[in-house]
Amino acid sequence: MSKGIALILGARSAIAMAIAHLFAKNGYDIQLAARNPDSLAADKSDIELRYKVTVTWHDFDALNIASHEQFVEQLPLLPDIAVCAVGYMGDQTENERDMKVTSMVMRSNYEGPASILAVLANSFEARGSGCLVGISSVAGERGRATNYIYGSAKAGFTVFLSGLRNRLSKKNVHVVTVLPGFVATKMIDGMDLPSKLIGQPEEVAVGVLKAVQKKQNVIYVKPIWQLIMVIIRNIPERFFKRMNI
């Protein structure tokens, strides 16, 4: 018996896929949504074989805002849980020079994810149940020279999620904000980062499942990141502006 349906937006992301696996393992049917969704054929069969749940796939482009209402209407069933893992970091130096790219980063991390979650929020609100999970980032907690374009979009998304939570808390719809630090996915492949700070996609999934079950509001994935961010947020601007972090 299915426990419910989890919709995974941006399903090709390793974080999204780990979440899909864990929810399937816990008895949820899965809707995988991504661009070129037929590339998810192997994932669909894998999840179905491993966990004996039903998996469907759906064409989804976060940047095509106009299509979002129709996207939700055309889902075979309205999901109980929707997780948005869509994101795009780009390359900071390129982001600084090319406004077209900058705009892509801003729209992929804020406008697109906010738009689809807004549509789903309305449907969940009307139904009077459901849980929305947005994967934002610690990068949105403070602007740093090395990735503030991406960070600012994530900051927008984080605030959006917080407002949405505030609005829906009386409507039996829960909203989870996920603020991962570094996670071992293709987004950071090839970067030289301290291994102690890198989490695995599976750890994010465990955190997300728990947050959904226990109605937690904001989660960091490795506890160390919560501490790091407390420190980073509290450094006075006059020092912060001269730091290289």
Binding site: A14, A42, S45, D46, L49, R50
Partner: protein
């Protein structure tokens, strides 16, 4: 980064990448000197290439299952543990399994692994219906007994040197329960053990643990464990309602690195004595769950650290039937006289060779672990020459130290492989630290 196999010896500074899709994998293969790495359970340097080691961990999806024929299609990085997890509850088990479930499908194909049933059911190759192989020019070839059959046969047992297995279709065995009916026989010496093995030919699983410190008349004193998949009806009453499930177990983890003296011959001797007398007492039928029966060591995570910083090596050879009795005696005497005996002295009866480069041949296989040090490396060299003398050969999945000379003497098949390769069938863009050492 520093890479090694399960034995943590040798440690090699090597380049490791973990591509996430076929396109990236192909681009890396075309750079040359590539070797696939599964779950790193081969003991030595077979899944290490200093220039281009390709981890297959992201190719781990199960693709299709045909419940009528028990055929599973899966990507090569899928773990055997996951296959069992998913399919045993449905009444399916692998036909052939090595002594650990933490191996990948690709690793089992490349080493053409054997289990305790080789004498009766052959090696893993027998249950592989086809593979998709990413070859040196970047093309993907479907290989089976009828399509690209030479490439198929050189890949099963070919230790990753023919290309990268992307996907495979394998057959699983229908089983009624998750339990094994085990009988233990006691053999007073090696001759007796062989006699008991020969009498047990029809039994599906057989393996002997040898107390390798015995000498003289009792050389090869051992316990022989025979096993059959149990019918659902004889499953312990407590579990009979769900015969395909077993109770959950605790996992132990070896904390840090043990000092290597903790495995001196005294403790080994105590272990062996205990084992022997224990077996003598409970020689009757016993029901054992699949996990404890096939994978006793898997419940101790990271047991390879037990041998300390310098790591360990396994010696595994097979001797032809004709010379097995004398050959085993010679090997065991050499081991007993040097007293660097190991925890694990395992004897198996093999049937005929299945694929072109499969390790097994009709005869007996002996396997032992050694902590790496001067004494044991010298002993292993002696064991090499004894094996050569008796016409045996060595298991590449366990090897980490053999010399090129010993290998070439033991393997007339290497020439056939090289001439096949040199015909252009597989240009040498694949290679491991092991293949370089052995001249393959």
């Amino acid at each position: 980064m520093i890479l090694s196999g399960w034995g943590r010896y040798p440690r090699i500074d090597a380049k490791l990448s973990a591509p996430r899709n076929e396109k990236d994998l192909r681009a890396l293969v075309l750079k040359g000197n590539a070797i696939a790495r599964g779950n790193g359970r081969a003991y030595g340097d077979s899944a290490v290439s200093t220039q281009n080691t390709l981890h297959m961990k992201y190719f781990n999806r199960m693709l299709a299952f045909d419940a009528e024929h028990g055929q599973l299609v899966a990507q090569a990085g899928v773990l055997l543990a996951d296959i069992i997890d998913v399919f045993l509850p449905l009444g399916w088990f692998p036909y052939v399994t090595p002594g650990t479930k933490f191996v990948t499908l690709g690793g089992m194909i490349a080493a053409d692994v054997h289990g305790k049933n080789h004498h009766k059911e052959g090696s893993f190759a027998k249950y592989v219906e086809w593979i998709d192989l990413l070859t040196s020019d970047g093309s993907i070839k479907r290989c089976s007994a009828i399509e690209n059959s030479d490439l198929f046969k050189w890949t099963l047992g070919g230790m990753g040197l023919t290309g990268i297995v992307l996907r495979a279709a394998i057959r699983l065995r229908p089983v009624q329960s998750a339990w094994i009916e085990q009988r233990t026989l006691v053999a007073d010496n090696i001759g007796h053990a062989i006699e008991l093995f020969e009498q047990s030919h029809d039994v599906t699983y057989s393996v002997a643990w040898i107390d390798c410190l015995q000498k003289g008349k009792s050389i090869g004193r051992s316990l022989i464990m025979l096993g059959e998949h149990a019918d659902a009806l004889i499953v312990p009453s407590k579990y009979r309602k769900t015969p395909l499930q077993i109770p959950r177990k605790r996992k132990l983890r070896v904390p840090l690195e043990f000092p290597s003296w903790s495995l001196n011959s005294l403790s080994v001797r105590a272990f062996n004595e205990l084992y022997y007398w224990n077996g003598k007492r409970k020689r009757d039928q016993q029901l054992v769950d699949w996990d404890s029966y096939f994978y006793p060591l898997d419940s101790i995570l990271g047991w390879n650290k037990i041998y300390g910083r310098r790591g360990f090596a396994q010696f595994q050879c097979v001797l032809p039937l004709k010379t097995a009795d004398d050959g085993l005696r010679a090997l065991l005497s050499a081991i007993a006289s040097t007293r660097v005996g190991s925890f694990l002295a395992v004897l198996k009866r093999f049937g005929a060779q299945d694929s072109n480069f499969s390790f097994p041949m009709e005869g007996y296989s002996l396997a032992l672990d050694f902590p790496v040090n001067k004494g044991s490396l010298d002993l292993m060299k002696r064991l090499d020459s004894i094996t050569l003398e008796y016409g045996g050969r060595f298991y590449l999945a366990k090897d980490s130290r053999m010399s090129r000379n010993v290998f070439q003497h033991s393997e007339p098949r290497a020439k056939d492989y090289l001439s096949y390769r040199n015909k252009g069938a597989i240009p040498a863009v694949f290679g491991s630290a092991q293949s370089e050492r052995l001249g393959l």
